[in-house]
Amino acid sequence: MEMLNFAFMQRALIAVLVIGLVSSIASFFVILRRLAFIGAGISHSAFGGIALGLVLGINPLGTAGIFGVLVAVFVAWLSRRGAVYEDTAIGIFFSGAMAFGIALLSLGKGYYGDAMSYLFGNVLAVSTTDLWILALTGSVVLAFLLSYFRALLCLSFNEECAKASGLPVNFLYYGLMISLALTVVVAAKTVGVVLASALLVVPGATGFQFSKDYKVILVVSVVSSLISALSGLWLSYQFGLASGASIVLVATLIFFLAFLFSPKRDGVFR
């Protein structure tokens, strides 16, 4: 583990562990509630906030967080009102927010090479400040998802049942959407906003290959996500690969293995 002799690798390790843990639990609800497209939409929308931060010269993770949360809340509000279909709202904001980001960068006077690291991730460039932001944001997301886990489970099964049981369904729904947006912020520096959507989908999808019991699914999601994060970081260091890409590729490989040898059904090779 000579790679851990370097301070930037130590920060990278903490960053991938945080994103691995946070995204795996968020991903469980993304798959359960079939929110994969929302995850992709929110993650791409965050680029608008990143560009704003770069142009204004402030930490882009902060502006990405605010931007992502606003988009998530607005999409949720529109779809709950039934004014616009959820996927239509996402399709509009996804492209609109990215276009806003690109337009801002093209108008700005400086050179924004850092934008690429937020688009595709560069875990080696995680600063101590970034790490604090990740830890704080990740803690907020984990605190919400774990404190309200059973309530979110009930909401995911049937909103009317949840409401009839006295659960605060609006708070839970908006809280979940905001958690997804904040998870993207956690992932932005590590894997980039383009690939962040993969981490909101793949670990949960892997877990769902293993069992019909949510407890097993959750544990498999977390374990597979942490394995992807650690081995992706190691591959990135050993072979000079882009960190985000290697983490997502390992996660995707684990998913395919789980799919092929799924104990839930007769796998392809059975």
Binding site: F149, A151, E160, A164, S165
Partner: protein, 239 residues
Amino acid sequence: MTILRGKEIEVYFGSKLVLKKVGFSVLEGELAAIIGANGAGKTTLLRVLSGIIKPSKGEVLFFDKPIKNVDLKQLAYLPQKSNFDAQFPLRVFDMVQLGWGTKGIFGRNGYRETKNVGWALEQVGLEGFEKRFFTELSGGQQQLVLLAKTLYAKPRLIFLDEPTTGLDPLARKRFYDLLVSLRERLGLTILIVSHDQEAVLEVASKLLVLDEGKIVYDGQPVAPGLWNKTSASLPQGGD
């Protein structure tokens, strides 16, 4: 004793008036059926009565208390089958508890919870199903598990929205027989919305017929079609 009373309930969806001054009452221990054509407002009425949506006007009283002040454990709601995921990844034990007790990630499986789940499953004839996967059950068994879920907190009144949709005739008959038995054994009050008119009329002790958001019949169950002829002489509820 009147357990549930609807007073002048009106519900607007946008500018559309879906329920028009609906008023009625249900006595404790009754099995009341709400029937009517598609779009008559049956499900909306059930959602208002169970506190899921607030009426635009009027009020719902449970033992003469506004429903918003009632301990929700006294009421339980079984949604339409089309509104839940039959592939939801839970074991029966967790499904029966879902929504009641929201602490912890993996739920509680102490003595009290195990006893309550066992009791609820026993009431619907599914003893020993605790460890089975919800996804592996037949449509009829899933519906019984959800009925057990409504019984878990030992409510006094349950609301059932089209509970027999998608079930074969035999499973439907068993379900209705079970409702009669639950009513007798537990003294439960049941409000059921159903399209299954003939079957529900056989078991109901009270009938409410909705037509275009209005109650057009409120009284003893009568054969389909007869309420039009008799409703004029019957009082409209919600005294």
